[in-house]
């Protein structure tokens, strides 16, 4: 468990935030550039000193301004992965990876060198020098170097931001595997919402140094109040669901989230496991009578709780399907069906349109 309560001022900018991340958890810190995300990581790592700070790793205090305690970075055992990698150019990849263990005098047997090399696919790179690596390879080495330094928590500062889209797609699965294979708590700073959805359990949304929302990913992102601070999030509903039934013949799984039951394409999912789904509002249709003779698998009875017409002539619906779900239809459809709040409806969600973002 890593927890923090920090405040740092630069001129008229002030960062004030609290948070924590448990073992095995990934906490995303989300916000535009200049919102104080990297400042938070530098405070946690001890590269900056907060004006007020209380940082604790497990039972150990790393910083406590009430006691004037401020451990230097080397004493904190937090692995910081920088946006630009910061590999040592004069050392081979293997020497970069073992740098932390040498500095902390860890016995080779105590560091999971082989496992980390396998996990991050670094086997073929060990003898090379950072100068000859691609951006994606560099970031993988940087992650491995932080992991192998005896770190009790990982701090990742936009590790994919410096990469182009193909490289991002190449590195993301490694982060996913890392999250699944590792109990190390991680604080993941990013301004890309797809990385949050894929990797994070909890999130703090920062805006100009202030936390505008915090909590578990689905509830923060589904909150309409947070939406203005989350560019890149289409109108959609994020659902954490449990796999209840596997239909191998048809390749479908049935999942449940609160009162919402859904069927979706489910290759590779295990019974009882948790999946995170994105339901795009424009992929959801509504009917006032139960539709028949349709290909749509999920026909879910519910209640229309609110509707709002926007300037472009779309109507945004808030549906209660056992969970609040958002839908968008045309104004003409809304008029034709004479939709009014409180009305019972049937929502139609195609199984193939349910987007699995995290297994």
């Amino acid at each position: 468990m890593l927890s923090w309560d920090v405040e740092k001022r630069f001129g008229d900018f002030a960062l004030t935030t609290t948070g924590d991340v448990a073992a095995g958890g990934v906490h995303a810190v989300f916000g535009p550039s200049g919102s104080g995300k990297s400042t938070l990581l530098n405070l946690l790592a001890g590269l900056l000193k907060g004006d007020r700070q209380a940082i604790r790793l497990g039972e150990r205090w790393l910083a406590d301004s009430t006691r004037r305690l401020h451990l230097p970075p080397e004493a904190r055992t937090l692995g910081l992965v920088f946006q630009d990698g910061r590999l040592f150019p004069h050392l081979s990849v293997a020497r970069n990876l073992t740098y932390g263990a040498r500095m902390r005098r860890l016995a080779p047997a105590d560091t999971p060198f082989g496992e980390v090399v396998d996990l991050l696919g670094l086997g073929d790179l060990l003898r090379r020098r950072p100068g000859g690596l691609s951006g994606g390879e560099r970031q993988r080495v940087a992650i491995g170097r932080a992991l192998l330094s005896g770190a009790d928590a990982l701090l990742l500062d936009e590790p994919l931001a410096s990469l182009d889209q193909p490289r991002r797609i190449e590195v993301l699965p490694f982060l996913d595997r890392l999250r699944a294979a590792n109990d190390t708590p991680m604080v993941y700073v990013t301004h890309a919402i797809d990385e949050v959805l894929r990797l994070a359990d909890t999130i703090t949304v920062l805006d100009r140094g202030r936390a505008v929302a915090a909590g578990d990913v689905a509830s923060v992102l589904n909150d309409p109040a947070t939406r203005p601070f989350v560019p890149g999030l289409a109108e959609e509903t994020v659902v954490e669901a449990q796999v209840r039934e596997i239909d191998r013949v048809n390749g479908l799984v049935r999942v449940r989230a609160g009162g919402l039951a859904l069927a979706l394409m489910g290759g590779g999912l295990a019974l009882g496991s948790t999946v995170r789904l994105r339901l795009a509002a424009r992929d959801i249709a509504v009917a006032t009578e139960p539709p028949c003779h349709t290909s749509v698998v999920n026909i879910l009875p519910g209640v229309l709780t609110a509707l709002e017409r926007d300037a472009e002539g779309r109507v945004h619906l808030d549906l209660d399907l056992g969970l609040p779900v958002r839908a968008i239809i045309t104004a003409s459809s809304a008029a034709r069906l004479a939709l009014v709040p409180g009305q019972p409806i049937h929502a139609m969600i195609k199984a193939v349109a349910v987007d699995r973002v995290r297994a």
């Binding site: 590269l47 004069h90 740098y99 500095m103 902390r104 000859g132």
Partner: protein, 232 residues
Amino acid sequence: MLQLTPLEQEALGLSLQVAFWCVAVSLVPGILVAWVLARLRFPGRTLLDGIVHLPLVLPPVVIGYLLLVVFGRQGLIGAPLYDWFGITIAFTWRGAVIASAVVAFPLLVRAIRLSLEAVDSGLESAARTLGARPWRVFLTVTLPLMAPGILAGAILAFARSLGEFGATITFVSNIPGETRTLPLALYSVLQRPGGDAEATRLAIISIVVAILALAASELLARRLRRRLGSAP
């Protein structure tokens, strides 16, 4: 032509010896001063910077004279050195080393400081987060990354020492076998009627040594750059 006369051998050997020790004694202080000037902000930094660079603008004769005042038998440092340890600096080859070290010091510090300022401090922060104390960060990250600049500074100081004349002749005089380095020997033979041929040979020797030093530094610098992973 290839056969060196005893005088040439003596002067060349002495020159190389003085230049080697000049670099050897000033390298560590040079790195230290460069680090202090590049990284620390303190009152008096400009003064220290000025003092370090002074030999660059002072006439070498003045430096030689000041060294004589300080390190002579009756000097501030020279007197206790002789009285307590029996060490004489003035008029010995050790004095020649000091004279050329003082003159070469600003060149050494400048080159090292430039390379230190080029080291990405982000790499040093990264090393800290990986468990390295500041001193080990310096030894394992900063110093290796500065290596090309240290090498350049050392070669500059070596070359400057080979060419040192004014401060040396003022401080330690022109004693055959003790302080008569190549430039001083060249000066001596020029004082004699008919010494032109000898002077030419000494000049050629000086040029060859200088070119060899340059070539060696270029070779080393290339190897270092390759190790640092940048362009060959």
